[in-house]
Symmetry: C2
Subunit: 346 residues, 2 copies
């Protein structure tokens, strides 16, 4: 069956969002004369006096960073969300608006300007995970924060404006559309089967095997059956946890380990510092129970053919449906076959 | 009310898709140190012997283009959709797939390699509209084609691999997710009010005035209240038409006129050949009645601050919710204030 799907257009269903992706595997044969990206062979210093995220430097908002040695978290100087909103009664007829409030933070992963996750030590990535846990739990227990989105934009083609290793956390009052979709489909499955949708899915994937990229004692990294981005990967905890706050210290290390191992494979794929947006989807923090939620971390990388040719999500994708050119199985095979040692460290 | 919304974060509801966009107008003040795009000052020849879309040239698939003088339509040499699919019973448990079939075409807008829509004559754009109508009606009446997506990717940052003026048409058996959402919300309104949702919305917009960009006898171009892209525009027919096949010849000219006028403003905004993806959303072609549908053409342009700085739809946007930095009203004001004469033709 999977063999057949490697050659003909078909669509696959995203069990988490209820949406479909169009898969056109034969299409990679078309020549590419379009835009190529610059590859920047980066040889970054450990400390950059011009970087607003390096220890001791002054940020664009005027604050001075402490001389931090561990992951450093601060409130975004140009937050998209703020604690105060515009008040009530903003709508009129078909013009519907609501106040939105929240808190935006920046998480510097390391004081060392030259690093990225694949080049960091597992023990230091574990500290990042501890910082994420703390923020998820603290922000989540604030009265008007009902959802906490942890994410990283890596690489300038993903809109990242500073190469210092860092991610962001945007937390807010309302539940964003992606979370509403994923809550709905997990809840439906939970109510029908009294089992986590993603636990059942993971069992099926482990049995099938052909979309698995990496495994360790506590986590599995796989290309979801319905992946949209060429080398999209989802990291799933084997245990049915609703959020990262539930990880014990050994699980934190395993989480750090699989993130590092995946990012090494990514860098090795085109021998470049591989760009992506990653994010952790977990249960809302509104105070209710969400037994159906199974947290997962996803990576959406844009590169398709090489370090310089990306997949464009444009006309058809924006107006009709996401579309991909290689199958999930082909992408998983490619990632599995790559070396586990970073190409810069051989 | 609108004044207040120009300064504080809030979210707005998309009445067509049922999703929300986060608006953070205060955020444009942040400095930008990230990726900038190259501006290509293009001085393209009228005929390019290396272009696979110019009249008389050989395409990558091997076919030879006729010496066309009018818009020229042909089947895509590397189609994402094909008339034959992989057959039945592709799903297993939580791995859900379906066959997908369809026909993909390319529409060359003009034999002249150097043109773009804003630089074409209204009478020649009218011919493009006639070609779109013909394709919509013909493809739509094919037995397994239930939806026809007409779109254009303009500019290399929108994944367009050939600057020859052209768009595409992907038509298929199933209804894509965007169409399912828009059908649902239009139908709900239609059943509750016996009136087109977009006709009612247009009335409210014409009364408010502050999001209107351009008008003529038959069409209005406006920034939708819930716009996601910085200078996103929707062109709406004043009459409640389900699809472009219903336009009479005077309405075709008016449609061509407003497309040209909008694209001139776009080019004038940053004095560059303005990139975008555009698409026409119209009723499915499954043969049923869709009285609720009101066709519209939308433009999704990525540029935000200048010809070289775009809006990145990345981490938060991919994992949580679309987000924009300027309000729809600010964008409309900016476009309204621009000259109606193309900067290259002054
Ligand atoms: O068909 P083209 O122009 O080669 O390809 C372009 O448009 C397609 C439809 O939006 C996208 O899938 C591709 O990513 C993009 O590069
Ligand atoms: O906050 P930053 O890093 O300046 O900005 C980046 O991430 C944000 C959140 O995904 C996006 O809204 C911006 O478009 C992107 O450039």
């Amino acid at each position: 069956m999977s063999q057949e799907l490697n050659n003909v257009p078909h669509r696959r269903y995203n069990i988490l969002t209820g949406e479909w992706v169009l898969v056109s595997p034969h299409r990679t044969k078309r020549p590419w004369q379009g835009k190529t990206e610059k590859t920047t062979v980066e040889d970054r210093p450990v400390y950059d006096p011009a970087c607003y995220l390096c220890p001791g430097n002054t940020r664009s908002g005027g604050s001075i960073n402490p001389d931090y040695k561990e992951p450093f978290v601060f409130e975004n100087d140009f937050p998209a969300l703020m604690p105060q909103g515009p008040g009530e009664n903003l709508s009129k007829g078909l013009l519907v608006a609501e106040s939105e409030t929240g808190i935006c933070k920046v998480v510097c992963f390391s004081p060392n300007h030259s690093l990225t996750l694949p080049l960091m030590e597992i023990k230091d990535i574990t500290k990042v995970i501890k910082a994420w846990k703390k923020e998820y739990l603290e922000l989540g227990s604030s009265p008007n924060i009902n959802y906490v989105q942890i994410f990283e934009n890596k690489g300038d083609i993903m809109g990242c404006s500073n190469p210092h290793p860092h991610g962001q956390i945007w937390s807010q009052r309302s539940l964003p559309p992606e979370i509403i979709k994923k809550s709905k489909h997990q809840l439906e499955y939970w109510e029908a089967n009294n089992k986590s949708l993603l636990a059942a899915y993971l069992e099926q994937e482990l049995e099938a095997g052909d979309r698995i990229v990496l495994e360790n004692e506590h986590f599995v990294a796989l290309i979801p059956y319905w992946a949209v981005w060429p080398y999209e990967v989802m990291i799933l905890p084997r245990k049915h946890y609703q959020h990262i706050g539930q990880l014990d210290s050994r699980e934190e290390v395993a989480f750090a380990g699989i993130i590092k191992a995946l990012c090494i494979k990514y860098d090795n794929l085109f021998e470049t510092s591989f760009p992506y947006s990653s994010g952790i989807h977990q249960m809302p923090t509104s105070g209710e129970e969400f037994p159906e939620w199974h947290f997962h971390m996803s990576f959406y990388p844009p590169l398709l053919r090489s370090a310089t040719v990306k997949k464009f999500m444009v006309g058809y994708e924006l107006f009709a449906s996401p579309q991909r050119d290689i199958t999930a199985e082909q992408a998983a095979q490619t990632l599995r076959d790559l070396d586990d040692v970073h190409y810069l460290q051989k």
